[in-house]
């Protein structure tokens, strides 16, 4: 508990200079709904950072702000700034951010349903003139299953297959920072394991920097170097993965652990608990 900073915005930034630095951003939707309230976080080059938080906390919104998708949902960054690789990208258009090396793999997969797997990958490398054979080989080597599905129409793939495709597509842009929004959503345990394995491999083998949102906190903290916990539009806790895994609140609310290991779902009672940091 002691090492965990409760006020991350004021906390000194540790480690190498951050590749992505979000400085106190505020996001509003529809000109009325304030979702992020002065959120700050930093993703150091070459690291894996996990962003945790309950539903509706604003995790996806954060990634949308970084990748420039807010405008499509009547949202905007109304305060603060987003710095990527030393450049203030707060108001870049999305295509330019992709070219700068930011790649987002959206929540809910969002593959191009009517395109084949191969065409999806071609589209993924759009900013790089369609990609070369090497790019395809890389993706197919990480996801051999995709190679078999090459000519299938993406819309009819199963959820897990679509998720692989979505990550593969994001890789086609050869990003410097890969942002993954709930990559394990709806995936079978074996696959979750595999996908997190891939992410770790990618990070270790290619030095790719990763920012990952995850509900499966255990898995995320296993591969992450650093973690942030987001509640109601603010960072409430941050720390190294190890620190977070030991934090009792994180254990109870995110890792589903009682005092003695994992709790049986049948033992859960009807009462409302309150997170101590709120």
């Amino acid at each position: 508990m002691t090492d965990v900073s409760l006020h991350p915005a004021e906390a000194p930034r540790q480690g190498s200079p951050a590749l992505l630095d979000i400085r106190g951003i505020e996001v509003i939707y529809d000109e009325v709904i304030l979702v992020l309230r002065g959120l700050s976080l930093a993703v150091p080059e070459g690291k894996v950072v996990a962003l945790l938080g309950s539903n509706g906390a604003g995790k996806s919104t954060t990634l949308k702000a970084v990748s420039g998708l807010l405008s499509t949902e009547r949202g905007e960054v109304s305060d603060g700034s987003i710095v990527f690789d030393g450049k203030n990208i707060t108001h870049f258009d999305p295509a330019r951010r992709v070219r700068a090396g930011l790649s987002l793999c959206m929540e809910g997969r969002h593959v191009f349903e009517h395109l084949t797997v191969h065409e999806n990958l071609v589209a993924g490398a759009y900013g790089r003139r369609g990609g070369n054979a090497e790019d395809f080989d890389l993706v197919y080597s990480f996801f051999p299953k995709l190679a078999d599905l090459r000519t299938r129409v993406a819309g009819y793939l199963s959820g897990g297959e679509q998720q692989m495709l979505a990550i593969g597509r994001a890789l086609m842009a050869r990003p410097r920072l890969l942002m993954l929004d709930e990559p394990s959503l709806g995936l079978a345990p074996l696959l979750v394991q595999e996908i997190f394995g891939y992410i770790r491999n990618l990070n270790q083998e290619t030095g790719l920097t990763v920012l990952v949102i995850e509900q499966n906190a255990r898995r995320a903290l296993e591969i992450a170097d650093h973690g942030y916990i987001l509640e109601q539009g603010r960072i409430v806790i941050d720390g190294t993965a190890a620190e977070l895994s030991e934090n009792p609140d994180v254990k109870e609310f995110y890792l589903g652990m009682g005092d003695a290991g994992r709790k049986n779902y049948r033992d859960v009672k009807h009462y409302r608990r309150r997170k101590r940091w709120l």
């Binding site: 990748s67 999305p94 793999c105 969002h110 349903e113 009517h114 490398a125 369609g130 819309g155």
Partner: protein
């Protein structure tokens, strides 16, 4: 036999022009999900653009066509920029309404600029007849078929294989996802409108050549609907099949039966085909999984 051959040639050339008009429609629909009710007006603008460059500005034909194409493309981009871009992400039905407003506006602009009477410009295509198998076949119509075939072929290849073609289809599927891979949705939309205006220019010029350049050109746009539905709203090759089917049906009906039915024949055909294939002959089935 010669009658049949004749009707076939006329049917094909009508169909080829319809396919060109429908092509623009499909491009816009496919990339932006917008049903463009101003397609007939784009045809109209196309016809008058050449009149403007060729007759009013007295440019040599080739230059007139090039300048005309530039104007058409610019118009497409301007329409996209001013009218449709602000509506990205809105209910498609509202966007349809905007194109209806656009149709009224474009039509009125042509009337303000050129009046309501037909304008006269020299023909571009040679109109001497060629004799073939005992039939008198008009050369201009044959040329229309050839030109349209080439244009449609190029567009089809572009859409299917080129990176930009794939990008347009990607945008059509999921705009947000397209943004995340670095495709500029705005540019894609502008491209779709520019290409649509360009194909409408070609269609309008050809149509003006074999009929007349007058506000009536816009009415031809209505026939685009049965064409695209037959072929499938989002299928580029479908426009060719749809166009030719409608062109031939209308001509055979008026050649062998009551020509009045040629007007609703396409619609009856359309309903029959839709009952068997709800997404047209080549349309993409909407992917619905739960």
């Amino acid at each position: 036999m010669s009658t049949f051959l004749n009707l076939t040639v006329y049917g094909l050339s009508d169909g080829a022009i319809l396919a060109l008009a429908a092509l623009g429609f499909v491009l816009i629909y496919k990339a932006t999900g917008v049903i463009n009710f101003a397609q007939g007006e784009l045809l109209l603008i196309g016809g008058y653009t050449l009149y403007l460059t060729f007759v009013v500005f007295k440019l040599p034909l080739v230059l007139a066509v090039v300048v005309g194409a530039a104007i058409a493309i610019a118009l497409g981009v301007v329409i996209e920029r001013l009218v449709l871009r602000p509506l990205i992400g809105e209910n498609p039905i509202s966007v349809i309404m905007v194109t209806i407003g656009l149709a009224a506006l474009l039509n009125a602009l042509v009337q303000i600029g050129f009046g309501t009477q037909p304008v006269h410009r020299p023909r571009i295509l040679p109109d001497d007849p060629v004799r073939f198998a005992g039939a008198q076949l008009p050369l201009d119509r044959l040329l229309v078929i050839v030109i349209a075939a080439v244009v449609l072929g190029v567009f089809t290849m572009f859409f299917r294989y080129s990176r930009h073609g794939i990008a347009l289809r990607a945008v059509a599927d999921d705009q947000q996802a397209a943004l995340t891979v670095g495709i500029s949705v705005r540019r894609a939309f502008a491209l779709a409108w520019a290409l649509a205006a360009l194909s409408a220019l070609i269609g309008g010029v050809l149509l003006g050549d074999i009929t007349e350049t007058s506000p009536r050109l816009a009415a031809f746009g209505l026939l685009v609907f049965p064409v695209v539905i037959l072929g499938g709203l989002d299928s580029v090759p479908g426009t060719i099949v749809g166009g030719l089917t409608i062109g031939l049906t209308a001509n055979y009906i008026s050649g062998y039966w009551d020509a009045g039915f040629a007007q609703i024949g396409p619609y009856v055909l359309l309903i029959l085909i839709l009952l068997v294939r709800p997404y047209g002959l080549f349309g993409e089935t909407r992917i619905e999984r739960v």
